[in-house]
């Protein structure tokens, strides 16, 4: 087994370690990575993780069933806080879903090789996170069984969606993003599925993996077309990374609610999304890497680079907070001023200050390379950021609605057990899908990792 590269050894950019541990061979890589899905039994820890995820998933089913039976009144939403956990969770999951495509597409286009060890994994994570996110806009509807009225379909009565509403844009943005991410992920997976097929020992496995490999034979023509298609999809996916959360931010910034109606929202949301996406990648990859002893493929270099991205986007997010407060004061708008004051010192002030600690103070630890390269500390920082980003959405959604224009209509929001159950339930869905993924699909790109062995020090021009 390959251990961690010796710490402290840096490349010319000051990045610690290598992208792949030395001494890897083509056959070794293929064998090592395909051995995970082809293993007869997953490790004991897999069962443990899957069981947790599955139990939470069952809770989601329960919560959703009760929701469909009774209505959204089982949640804590009310007037004036008509949007609650459902929207907070939606934005949070969508944000998490940003890292995958960012890593795969944008870093691919920028010829950043440090995507190789983690791209498959993060793309899968993106899909699962978007799936989790996609549940909420449906469930939060008062009448979810007619959700399709939001789609433009040829209605005999000539009814169309109301295209001025950002919720309609949302549908397009999120569904496009999900589709492109899925295609991109699957396209990248084809050669690896073929590798698994080739390594499989039982006919059934060969059949199943062969079916999904779509007859990949690894011919030069295949590779040539695959590469150009992959690049083209990357080109398509890259703007989507920026657009999807911009559109999600329009849900808020198009409204006139103080605290929502802000032009900084699109870039601020995108930065926040990447911030939380990378945090989630780290939170998952650090234990998995340890569990499957993949430190040779996902080296500390990756962790360090992801931490750097988090640091940058974290500063952008902090800037967003600062500008929000500044604009509230600078605009002279009494509603904005009150909103900012209420955020910091109102009944949910403690949430706001918690957000400042989690999202602004804690990420400053990432300036230290010791933190960036220490898996435990990095895990904790990433965890704090994940919580922090959820709290950020809570602050935006709840404290803005809670006290808007009419003091007589001001209210409070208290989530119910069903709110928490639904949030935890989607975490269960996410974990379940994730554990199924690492059990049955090669979680590291075999073909691209082999490229690293071929040209381990390729530096783009």
């Amino acid at each position: 087994m390959i251990g961690d590269p010796p710490p402290g050894k840096s490349d010319q950019h000051g990045n610690p370690g290598e992208l792949i541990a030395p001494g890897q061979t083509y056959a070794g890589i293929t064998g090592r990575i395909t051995s995970i899905p082809l293993a007869k039994q997953p490790p004991r820890a897999w069962y443990f993780g899957f069981a947790i995820g599955f139990a939470l998933l069952m809770m989601l089913f329960l919560a959703v069933t009760w929701l469909l039976v009774k209505g959204v009144g089982i949640w804590g939403i009310n007037m004036p806080v008509a949007w609650g956990f459902a929207i907070v969770n939606f934005v949070w999951w969508i944000g998490i879903g940003h890292a995958g495509t960012f890593i795969s597409a944008i870093l691919l286009l920028l010829f950043q090789q440090w995507r190789t060890g983690i791209n498959r994994f993060t793309e899968a994570m993106t899909l699962f996170a978007v799936a989790c996110a996609g549940i909420f806009p449906l469930l939060h509807l008062g009448r979810p069984w007619v959700f399709w009225w939001i789609l433009p379909y040829p209605d005999t009565m000539g009814l169309w969606p109301q295209f001025r509403s950002p919720l309609v844009w949302d549908v397009f943005a999120v569904s496009t993003y999900f589709t492109v991410s899925l295609l991109f992920w699957y396209l990248g997976l084809l050669p690896d599925l073929a590798s698994v097929r080739d390594m499989a020992e039982t006919p059934l496995k060969r059949k199943i993996y062969g079916f999904f490999a779509l007859g990949w034979r690894g011919s030069a023509a295949h590779w040539q077309r695959h590469q150009s298609a992959y690049l083209l999809l990357a080109g398509l996916a890259a703007p989507l990374v920026l657009s999807v959360h911009s559109v999600v931010s329009f849900d808020f910034s198009v409204a006139i609610v103080p605290g929502w109606h802000s032009t900084i929202f699109p870039p601020y949301f995108v930065a926040g999304a990447i911030f939380s996406g990378f945090a989630m990648v780290l939170n998952i990859i650090i234990p998995i890497r340890k569990l499957y002893r993949l430190e040779g493929f996902i080296t500390t270099r990756y962790l360090n680079n992801m931490a750097n991205i988090m640091l940058v986007t974290g500063e952008m997010v902090a800037y967003g907070y600062l500008i929000e407060a500044f604009m509230a004061w600078y605009s002279g708008d009494k509603f904005e001023e009150y909103m900012m004051h209420n955020r910091a010192f109102g009944p949910y002030g403690w949430v706001f200050w918690g957000l400042m600690v989690l999202n602004v103070a804690v990420p400053q630890l990432l300036w230290s390379r010791r933190v960036r390269t220490n898996t435990v500390l990095l895990f904790l920082v990433a965890f704090a950021i994940n919580i922090g980003m959820w709290v950020e959405r809570f602050v935006i959604v709840i404290t803005s609605l809670q006290r808007d224009f009419m003091p007589s209509a001001w209210g409070m929001y208290t989530p119910t057990a069903w709110d928490w159950a639904t949030l935890a339930g989607t975490v269960g869905l996410f974990l379940t899908l994730l554990f199924l993924f690492i059990r049955f699909v090669p979680m590291i790109s075999i073909s691209e990792t082999r490229e690293l062995v071929a040209e381990p020090k390729k530096i783009p021009a």
């Binding site: 959204v72 009144g73 949007w83 009814l159 969606p161 001025r164 006139i256 003091p407 007589s408």
Partner: protein, 1000 residues
């Protein structure tokens, strides 16, 4: 059924001989009318054996009814009875002639509502109402615009009475000792009882009723008392007018009623008098008062001074309000009397001497054009003082007029109740007939009414519901609801109003008239005959025509009491009145459940109380200063100890509450009531003694450390400097009518938009609403009227606590100034119907859209429930069906729904529609007549109900319409207009008229 019997029952008609009295049976058969089948002679005779047989014939079912109800069987029986009541609801119209108010229909046109004039009662006093019926089921109450006491307005109680009609918890069968029995059986028992009473000249007979103004009932009682000269009639209301009448008796030496003409009063002083909302004539008073609050009033704005212990509707309208303990009012009145040259005591006012001096000067300046009024919660001595003060000011005959009293003798409910209980205790009274009322619950706690009831040989109660008192009664007769009854009553000015039924009694209920008639004679007459017979004997000119007109109008014109000149007794010298120290306990009727009678009415329960915005509960209202002293928070449970009795009740801190007064609202904490009222609130009667009916000092308050969750609809009462409510003074307005708009940020211009300002042209009608904050008294009637009109569900205490109440129009309250004596402003908030509606752009499915007349419409069918519209509504007037709030309604409950308005299901948004169904009805009428809808022809439900005419709706394209003229007034403004929403609902800024000589 065996005819030969061995046991003799004392009350059977076969007594003495064991034989059936054939002549009696013949008579009974003659009395019966309609399809009454009889099975045996015993049945007709009503023998106990037959009753027993009836009971045994279906032994399983009969036993179910008296068993402790098992759940399964309860559901079975419920289901069966619901099916039956549903059928009962389909009964034909009453056979008596009833005359529609507006037009006489040749026949009932399905889908076309009819309107009938009838009468609503509260504490015996009539208000004229028009009832809308759809296919024979009453659905909506409107005020009768021709009726002199309410002039078209209604109270919240009046609006909500239609819900009581369909209350599934109403008494539905005659009960004998808790077992189902029949009216016929009751009659036969009464026959014997009355025979026994006749022998002792009625010495054991007592009738207990609430306050009764009905001429028919009075004549019946005269007949009864003539036949039973030793019988006694006790009229008593838990929150009645005893003090008012006693006060007049002291001042004038005779029983008179006092009526005010507030439209003639320039200066008004209300001493703990909530004349705008809890007086029997308050609808008329509110109208009169409001005519003098409009800035364009010809006679100038009036000035209102109020001294009171606890914020009232009237207190909030005051230009100068003094928070004063109820026990301090008398001293204040005495000081005022002194300053007006009457024997009084100047020193009693203490620190408020300056205040009352300024008020006295102002009253004197307006002598003959001023009015002083005291509330029923003040002792008779204060009322007498007020009469002398009005006399000294020369107001009598001008702003204050006197009429003959309803009863020739002084009615003192408290004294007659005491006498009644004493008679029962001594055994001299053995039979009690109660017409409604709930004395076991609401009698003063030092009178053990239930113990007295247990001593009675025969106790009968007629009531619409079974309550605490019913349990002690041998017979309980279901009463017909007012909307099911024939009857009459007088309004506070004396006008005789006729009650006619809108629907046949759902549960075969009887009216008080029928019950008293049954005591007097058998065969009994029905109440139609009783009422008609009485009035036909009254020498009315051309009776048939008068009678038909009375039914059509709802009242008999010209029956108001004539004003009389009164000579006042020598003013008594009141000296050395010093309010008691320490804490004071004050009792007031609850603004929603009154004395407890409306506790099972969900609309009223969920109606946010003025000022506190509490729903479903009452609280001990305490002042901020007391809260500070005792370190109490809203919802902290305290133990109140008052004259040896204790009550645990949570507190609510009410700004403007007199420092050392604790106010309890009566009517809550009921032990036996229906499903809605059970378990709500705390019983203030537990501390109410006959020597402190309204207030008393010597209260102890102890914090228990427990807390109680209240449900309120408004949590924040500070306007936060926003342009939501505009206020100023009459003086400022006179120097510059535009002073208000000059103070605030100008609204964006018409062209300050990226879109074409003429994107939508409203060429036909252009609906708009104007709400006058000067006249709005904050009485909440609009909210209930809207609820009744628009099928708005109630959601229950828990859902209100979660912020999910459904009212389409709410009355916001804002406080200004100090905590101890704040200025309070009310603001009714319906949908603003913005021309630039923020809700519309964000709906993904176009479920909220604008129509070509400017209505912001909600398309329930299209709504998928994203709630984005509500988030984007700056006024937060949208309401969402978070759950299925209409679930579980019985078929009888469903009858209250307005068929012209969709009943919304779970998951859709709803909000004020400007009563679009009324607009369409008016449009159809107008189009049939090939004309436009006339101004005033079309009124919204809130507008129709408003006592102060504060809400005006109409066509903004018609420059002559009232709403256009109001919008053109300098005080008119759009709430949060700076957001460029261009609201169609506008407000008229509130002016107060402070006395320039007073500081605050």
């Amino acid at each position: 059924m065996p005819m030969n019997r061995h046991d003799h029952h004392p009350i059977s008609e076969t007594e003495d001989s064991g034989r059936i009295d054939i002549s009696r049976i013949r008579r009974r058969l003659e009395e019966m009318h309609g399809l009454n089948y009889w099975r045996s002679l015993d049945e007709i005779a009503g023998t106990p054996e037959f009753q027993d047989f009836l009971h045994r014939e279906f032994p399983s079912a009969a036993s179910e009814l008296k068993d402790e109800v098992s759940r399964r069987h309860f559901l079975k029986i419920m289901g069966a009875s619901l099916a039956l009541t549903g059928m009962a609801a389909c009964t034909r119209q009453p056979v008596e002639k009833i005359v529609p108010y507006v037009k006489q229909p040749p026949e009932l046109v399905p889908g076309k509502p009819l309107h009938y004039a009838t009468t609503a009662l509260l504490d015996g006093f009539a208000t004229g109402i028009l009832v809308t019926t759809h296919e024979g089921r009453p659905t909506k109450i409107e005020g009768n615009p021709d009726h002199p006491i309410n002039l078209g307005a209604t109270t919240a109680f009046g609006q909500a009475m239609v819900l009581d009609l369909y209350d599934p918890d109403r008494a539905q069968t005659v009960l004998n000792a808790g077992k189902p029995a029949s009216w016929e059986a009751f009659l036969s028992v009464m026959n014997l009882e009355m025979r026994a009473q006749r022998e002792k000249k009625g010495a054991g007979l007592r009738i207990l009723s609430g306050c009764v103004t009905s001429p028919v009932f009075h004549s019946q009682m005269r007949a009864l008392l003539a036949a039973f000269p030793l019988a006694k009639w006790c009229q008593r209301e838990p929150v009645g007018l005893d003090t008012v009448r006693l006060g007049a008796q002291i001042a004038f030496g005779r029983a008179v009623e006092t009526l005010y003409n507030f439209e003639k009063a320039d200066v008004i002083l209300a001493l703990d008098a909530d004349f705008l909302s809890t007086h029997p004539a308050s609808l008329r008073y509110a109208r009169q008062f409001s005519t003098r609050r409009r800035p364009d009033t010809a006679d100038g704005m009036n000035r209102l001074y109020v001294a009171e212990p606890s914020s009232s509707i009237t207190g909030a309208m005051a230009d100068h309000r003094l928070s004063l303990a109820a026990g301090g009012i008398e001293a204040l009145a005495s000081a005022l009397a002194h300053r007006l040259g009457l024997p009084g005591d100047d020193g009693g006012a203490g620190e408020h001497g300056g205040w009352i001096a300024a008020v006295a000067a102002d009253l004197k300046r307006a002598a003959g054009r001023s009015a002083v009024i005291a509330g029923k919660g003040q002792p008779a001595s204060v009322h007498a003082l007020v009469h002398w003060i009005n006399g000294a000011l020369g107001n009598a005959g001008k702003t204050v007029v006197y009429t003959n009293a309803f009863d020739s003798e002084l009615v003192n409910g408290m004294e007659s109740l005491k006498k009644l209980v004493a008679d029962i205790e001594s055994g001299s009274a053995d039979m009690l007939v109660m017409l409604g009322g709930n004395p076991v619950y609401d009698a003063p706690v030092d009178i053990d009414f239930s113990k007295a009831l247990e001593k009675l040989k025969m106790c009968v109660r007629l009531g619409v519901d079974e309550n605490e008192t019913s349990r002690f009664c041998h017979w309980h007769i279901p009463a017909a609801h007012e909307l099911e009854s024939w009857g009459d009553a007088r309004a506070f000015d004396g006008t005789v109003s006729i009650t006619q039924p809108l629907i046949e009694p759902l549960y075969g209920g009887k009216t008080p008239l029928e019950l008293i008639d049954a005591l007097l004679r058998q065969p009994t007459r029905n109440s139609y005959t009783i009422v008609r017979d009485y009035w036909s004997a009254q020498n009315l000119p051309d009776f048939e025509k008068t009678w038909r007109k009375a039914l059509s109008d709802g009242f008999i014109a010209g029956t108001a009491f004539e004003t009389i000149a009164v000579t006042s007794a020598e003013p008594a010298r009141t000296s050395n009145i010093r309010p008691g120290g320490g804490l004071e306990l004050v009792f007031r009727p609850d603004p929603s459940v009154w004395d407890g009678r409306f506790v099972n009415n969900a609309w009223l329960q969920e109606l946010p109380r003025p000022f506190t915005k509490l729903t479903w509960d009452n609280a001990a209202l305490i002042s901020p200063a007391l809260a500070q002293r005792e370190q109490l928070q809203n919802g902290d449970v305290v133990e109140l100890e008052f004259r040896g009795r204790t009550l645990r009740i949570p507190v609510w801190i009410l700004p403007g509450q007199a420092e050392n007064s604790v106010t309890l609202h009566l009517g809550y904490g009921r032990q036996k009531t229906g499903r809605v009222g059970t378990g709500t609130g705390f019983n203030a009667y537990a501390l109410r003694t006959s020597d402190a009916l309204w207030f008393g000092s010597g209260l102890q308050i102890r914090k228990t450390g427990e807390t109680y969750p209240f449900s309120t609809t408004q949590r924040h009462f500070n306007v936060e400097g926003r342009d939501i409510i505009r206020e100023g003074t009459w003086q400022e307005f006179q120097s510059d009518p535009h002073f208000m708009s000059a103070r605030t940020e100008p609204e964006p211009g018409r062209d300050d938009t990226l879109y074409s300002p003429d994107e939508f042209k409203y060429t036909g009608y252009k609906w708009g609403m104007s709400i006058d904050l000067n006249t709005c008294i904050g009485c909440n009637t609009c909210a209930i009227a809207c609820q009744a009109e628009n099928n708005i569900p109630t959601v229950g205490k828990d859902q209100v606590a979660r912020g999910r109440e459904m009212h389409w129009i709410r009355v916001d309250a804002y406080y200004r100034g100090g905590l101890d004596d704040p200025e309070i402003s009310h603001q009714p908030v319906p949908c603003m119907h913005c021309e630039n509606a923020p809700c519309e752009v964000v709906c993904p499915v176009g479920a909220t859209v604008h129509d070509d007349e400017g209505l912001n419409m909600q398309v329930y069918n299209r709504c998928i429930g994203t709630r984005y519209c509500s988030n984007n509504c700056p006024y937060k007037v949208r309401r969402f069906n978070f759950l299925e709030f209409n679930a579980g309604m019985t078929s009888v409950q469903k009858m209250v729904k307005n068929p012209d308005v969709t009943v919304r299901s779970r998951g859709v948004m709803e909000k004020c529609t400007y009563c679009t169904q009324r607009i369409n009805a008016a449009r159809i009428t107008a189009e049939k007549e090939d004309r436009k809808i006339r101004d005033g022809e079309l009124v919204t439900a809130c507008q129709a109900a408003c006592p102060a005419e504060a809400i005006v709706f109409g066509d903004l394209n018609d420059p002559a319409s009232r709403v256009s003229k109001l919008r053109a007034q300098p005080l008119s403004y759009g709430m949060l207009g700076e957001l460029n929403t261009r609201p169609r609902t506008s407000y008229l800024g509130k002016l107060r008229n402070p006395n320039p000589e007073m500081k605050s």
